[in-house]
C-alpha cells in the first residue's frame, strides 16, 4: 500500500467513527430481511435453479463472457469475471497446460501456430457453482451474502463490508472485489432476468448451446433431461459444497 492509498483509506476510516448516532436506527432497520429482488407474482419457493455445461460443445468463442460483462456491469479489466473460459491442452507426454482465454485483451493479431505435441484440447466454461452448501455464505460475518429460496447465492452490496472472507472461502475462484463498489461480487445467474422468465445472458448468447439453464426440481425441464442423459460431474466434489453447475463430459484433469 502506498502513502496516497493509506491517506485515502484513513479518510474513509476516521469519519467512520462518527456514525455512532445512526447505529441504533441502522440496527433496527437491519433486523428486517433484505428486500427481495423479485418481480410480483414470482414464487421463489417453487424453483431450485442450476446450470448444465456440456464441455464437448464449447468452442471457446468467449461470447458468454462478453455478454455477462455487458449485462451485469462487470469491470472490463481482465481481473474480474463472473464467468470465464479455460483452455486445457493435453500433450503427448501426458502433460496438461491450462490457460484462461478470457483474460486476453483484444483479438489476437494472428492465429496461434499449431503445437504438434498437443494431442487433445478442450474448453471449460467456469462460473459460480451456486453451491447448495455454499462456503462463502457460511463465512460472511454480516450475512451480506445469502442463498435465495430458489437456490441462487447473492451478495447484498448495501450490507457487504468488503472483508473478502467469502473470496478466500470460495474454492472455485468465482468471486472478486468489485473496484467500483468495493464490495464482493459474483455471478447471480442473472437473477433479474430469470425471475422474469428469461435466460441468463451467458446461456442466451451461447451459439452451440453448451450451457443449459433450468430448474432442477421441475418435472419437465431441459436441465432435468440434461442431468438424466449425460454422465454428470461437478467440480471439487470432495469439498462437499454440492455445486448446482453440472458438467457433462468433463475431463478428470479439470479442477
Amino acid at each position: 500500500m502506498n502513502k496516497r492509498q493509506l491517506l485515502k483509506d484513513a479518510l474513509l476510516f476516521f469519519p467512520a467513527a462518527g456514525v455512532l448516532p445512526s447505529l441504533v436506527a441502522e440496527a433496527v432497520a437491519s433486523v428486517e430481511p433484505a428486500p427481495s429482488p423479485v418481480v410480483p407474482g414470482y414464487d421463489p419457493k417453487s424453483h431450485w435453479y442450476g446450470m448444465g455445461v456440456d464441455v464437448g460443445k464449447c468452442i471457446g468463442c468467449n461470447r458468454c463472457v462478453e455478454a455477462c460483462k455487458a449485462e451485469n456491469g462487470v469491470p472490463e479489466e481482465p481481473f474480474y469475471f463472473r464467468t470465464w473460459i479455460e483452455r486445457y491442452r493435453i500433450h503427448a507426454d501426458g502433460e496438461v497446460t491450462v490457460d484462461c482465454i478470457s483474460t486476453r485483451e483484444g483479438q489476437p493479431e494472428q492465429a496461434e501456430p499449431e503445437d504438434p505435441t498437443v494431442v487433445r484440447t478442450f474448453f471449460v466454461p467456469k462460473l459460480c457453482n451456486q453451491c447448495a452448501n455454499p462456503p462463502c455464505v457460511q463465512v460472511c460475518p454480516v450475512g451480506a451474502t445469502y442463498q435465495t429460496e430458489d437456490g441462487v447465492v447473492l451478495v447484498d452490496a448495501t450490507r457487504c463490508i468488503g472483508c473478502r472472507y467469502c473470496i478466500q472461502a470460495c474454492p472455485y475462484g468465482a468471486r472478486y472485489l468489485n473496484p467500483k463498489t468495493r464490495t464482493a461480487d459474483k455471478c447471480t445467474f442473472c437473477y433479474h432476468r430469470i425471475t422474469e422468465g428469461l435466460l441468463p445472458a451467458c446461456v442466451e448468447v451461447c451459439p452451440t448451446e453448451a450451457r443449459i439453464f433450468g430448474d432442477l426440481e421441475a418435472h419437465a425441464d431441459r436441465l432435468v433431461r440434461f442431468h438424466r442423459v449425460n454422465e454428470i460431474s461437478v467440480l471439487k466434489p470432495d469439498l462437499n459444497t454440492e455445486p448446482k453447475v453440472l458438467y457433462a463430459s468433463l475431463d478428470g484433469e479439470v479442477r
Binding site: 469519519p15 497446460t97 491450462v98 454480516v142 473496484p179
Partner: protein, 286 residues
C-alpha cells in the same frame, strides 16, 4: 465503465498477472488478504503473548518475572487498542465495520471473533489492569487537583478505599481475572488461527494445527516484544537491567521458539507425505 478503476490498482494487477507461473483462476490474480492481514495476527499475537507472560507472575508465581509484570500488561493493552486498525483499513467499507457486532452471522468465524476480541479487551485485560493500578490511581486522585483530580477520580471509578483489606481484595481479584485470562488469551489467538484454518478452499491454511501454531507464535512474539520494550525503556530511563528477570524470560522465549519451530516443522514434513498436488485448490500446476 473503466473509469472507476484506479490506474494504480490496474498497473499493480497487470504486474502481478505477469508474475503468475502455471495457471490460477483469473479472479485470483488480486491478492485479497495482503500486508494488512499479515500485520494484524502479529499484533494480536503480541497481545496474547504479553498477557501469558504476565500471568506467569500472578498464577504460576515466577517471582523473577515480577519486574516486568506491569510492563507486560501495558504492552498487551497498547497493542490490543490498535490491533483492529489494520483490519479496519483493509475493509472495502470501513464505515460498515460495526455491522459485525450489530448483525453478526453465527456461522462465520470472523463474526464470532468480534465478540472474543471484545470479551478479552473488556472482560479480562481492562479489569486486570484496573485492579492492578487501583491503589496508585486512588493515591494520584488524592494528590492532584483540578481537572486531573476529576480524571483520576473517574479512572478509579470513585473508589477511595485504601485499607489493607481493600488492597488484599485487589490482589485476589486480579489473580482470579488472570486465571480466567489465560484460557481467554489462548482463545483469542487460537481463534485467529481458526479463522484461517477453517478456510477449506485453501489447503495451505486448512490445517487443524493452525490454531496451535498461531498460539505458539503469539507467545514467541509477545515475550520477545516485552523483552525488547523493557530493554529500550531501561536504556531511556538509564536504569540497570534486571538480568535475573531477563534470563528467566529468555528461557521461556527459547522454549516457546522450540515448540513453535517443532509445530511448523511438523506441518512442513506432513505436507509432502500427503503430497497434495502443489496448489490443488487454485489449480495452479507449477
Amino acid at each position: 465503465m473503466n473509469g472507476a478503476m484506479p490506474e494504480s490498482l490496474y498497473e499493480q494487477l497487470s504486474h502481478q498477472l505477469s508474475q503468475v507461473v502455471g495457471f490460477i483462476y483469473p479472479n485470483e490474480v488480486e491478492t485479497q488478504w495482503a500486508i494488512l492481514i499479515v500485520v494484524y495476527p502479529y499484533i494480536t499475537g503480541i497481545v496474547a503473548g504479553a498477557f501469558i507472560l504476565a500471568s506467569l507472575v500472578k498464577v504460576f508465581n515466577v517471582v523473577e518475572v515480577q519486574p516486568i509484570y506491569r510492563l507486560a500488561l501495558l504492552t498487551a493493552l497498547a497493542f490490543m487498542l490498535v490491533a483492529g486498525m489494520p483490519l479496519q483499513l483493509h475493509l472495502g467499507h470501513p464505515e460498515r465495520a460495526y455491522e459485525i457486532f450489530f448483525t453478526p452471522q453465527p456461522s462465520s468465524a470472523m463474526a464470532m471473533f468480534g465478540f472474543v476480541y471484545l470479551w478479552y479487551l473488556l472482560g479480562v485485560l481492562l479489569i486486570e489492569i484496573w485492579f492492578e493500578y487501583r491503589q496508585q490511581i486512588v493515591l494520584m486522585a488524592q494528590k492532584s487537583r483540578g481537572i486531573m483530580k476529576a480524571v483520576y477520580g473517574a479512572l478509579s471509578l470513585y473508589s477511595k478505599d485504601l485499607s489493607p483489606a481493600a488492597i488484599e481484595f485487589d490482589h485476589k481479584a486480579s489473580k482470579v481475572v488472570t486465571i480466567i485470562g489465560i484460557p481467554s488469551a489462548f482463545l483469542l489467538h487460537g481463534y485467529v488461527g481458526f479463522i484461517f484454518g477453517s478456510v477449506k478452499a485453501n489447503p495451505w491454511w486448512g490445517s487443524v494445527l493452525m490454531p496451535i501454531v498461531f498460539l505458539m507464535s503469539a507467545i514467541v512474539s509477545g515475550i520477545a516484544m516485552v523483552m525488547f520494550i523493557y530493554i529500550i525503556l531501561s536504556l531511556i530511563r538509564n536504569e540497570k537491567l534486571d538480568m535475573r528477570c531477563l534470563d528467566k524470560v529468555g528461557l521461556f522465549l527459547l522454549v516457546a521458539i522450540i515448540v513453535d519451530f517443532a509445530l511448523e516443522a511438523l506441518d512442513y514434513i506432513h505436507r509432502p507425505w500427503w503430497s497434495y498436488r502443489s496448489c490443488w485448490a487454485c489449480s495452479c500446476r507449477s
